[in-house]
Subunit: 242 residues, 2 copies
């Protein structure tokens, strides 16, 4: 890779972040099934801010202060919460103009972990083309962090990382020498013509199916429903204006 190029890297697990950390980069957080797809949907439906919190205790404390709270663990909505992790929860009539507190198994910790970076944004198929244009416009290094499942590698997040990296690298100002970026792109090219078929083998698909929560998988793999990019500002997510 020529040294004047912006680098593209993919981090397959939040537990590997220290090894890929690059505070000058734009960081895209990916948790396709379902946290980042749900967050993008919430902004599509007019939410004002989303406050990511790591622990259920923090989420409960916000609930007691009167906030709307989305909280799940292992895919299941917690009793005290108003919503779980399904994008279908975040309906306009309930959330428009509101602030929501959000705590999930994998996604929210990954968001807060990267907060020292130049910019942290939320990635999903729903906003993928907007992301590509935004990343090009920043002209900085790109680090894609897959939230995975309890710090393990996940196929559905890696496929998205490959889709995003492949698109970003079409711009010759960007380059990569990162093995996980190449692997992601190869997996994406294997899967892209039949994503649902490919994901038959993904562990998360089976977890969601077992809990009858797999109705969202097609929706979460739909490209370009919005141009909105949620961005971390201080300790909350808002819709990016750029």
């Amino acid at each position: 890779m020529k040294e004047d190029k912006r680098s593209v890297e993919v981090c397959f697990s939040p537990a590997l972040f220290a090894n890929y950390r690059n505070d000058d980069s734009v960081v895209v957080i990916v948790d396709i099934l379902r946290a980042t797809s749900a967050i993008v949907t919430a902004f599509m439906n007019g939410v004002n801010r989303i406050i990511p919190v790591g622990t259920l205790e923090e989420a409960i404390a916000y609930k007691q202060k009167g906030y709307l709270v989305a909280a799940e663990r292992d895919g299941i909505v917690r009793d005290f919460a108003d919503f779980g992790n399904s994008p279908y929860n975040f309906r306009r009539e309930i959330i428009a103009g509101k602030d929501i507190v959000y705590s999930t198994t994998n996604g929210t910790n990954a968001i807060m972990m990267a907060k020292e970076s130049y910019r942290v944004v939320i990635g999903a198929y729903l906003n993928i083309s907007a992301l590509v244009n935004y990343i090009w416009s920043e002209d900085r290094d790109l680090l894609i962090i897959c939230a995975g499942w309890k710090d393990k590698f996940s196929l559905e997040d890696s496929l998205f990382a490959g889709a995003l990296a492949d698109a970003v690298l079409k711009n010759k100002n960007f380059g990569t020498v990162c093995d996980s970026t190449y692997a992601s792109i190869d997996l994406w090219n294997l899967a892209r013509l039949d994503i649902m078929g490919y994901l038959e083998k993904a562990a998360q698909r089976h977890r969601l199916k077992k809990n009858k929560l797999d109705d969202v998988i097609g929706y979460c793999h739909t490209a370009d429903l919005t141009g909105i990019i949620p961005v971390l500002e201080n300790n909350y997510l808002k819709s990016l204006n750029y």
Copy 2:
């Protein structure tokens, strides 16, 4: 996966070991370029024992006691050492019947990390069919740990993990629900007909080439030169008899 099957899992980085740890399993350590290929070669050439040590300080202490020492960092032989990390170093006339102390950037820490497991063995293309037969004969879960590069994902180790997992899963007593295992097998099937071509993009290939150490890449991807399986016993590696 049926619950009576033995599970196959792939851990893409030593930094993820805690998330995949399974002390009842056979663990295969993989550092194709070059540590595990070099270790297998040393046993092919009659080494008695290999003592893996994590730090250069430990390696120096052994050297002062009169041991033969292999020690490299970032691919480069250290001044005090008798050998680096190239399989070509371990010639029969120098090592037959001897004990060697071994410290590398990525491989040796991965070996010692898993020492509480039922059994830790050393994997390379050089002994892949012997490994498959051994794993089948144990009839236990299998965990393949890729040493990677400084805790990052590496293509060459993941391809080998895919080759080994693919072969082990031909036996229907074994099954997997592990996303990284599926990804490894898919990458292996993409690369298998032209491994050298595929590895053109691997970062480690470029590191070795830059240091003129890439002469071993073909050798390290040669299948079944031996039936020897190095195994961790107490704090050293010896040749497995089973």
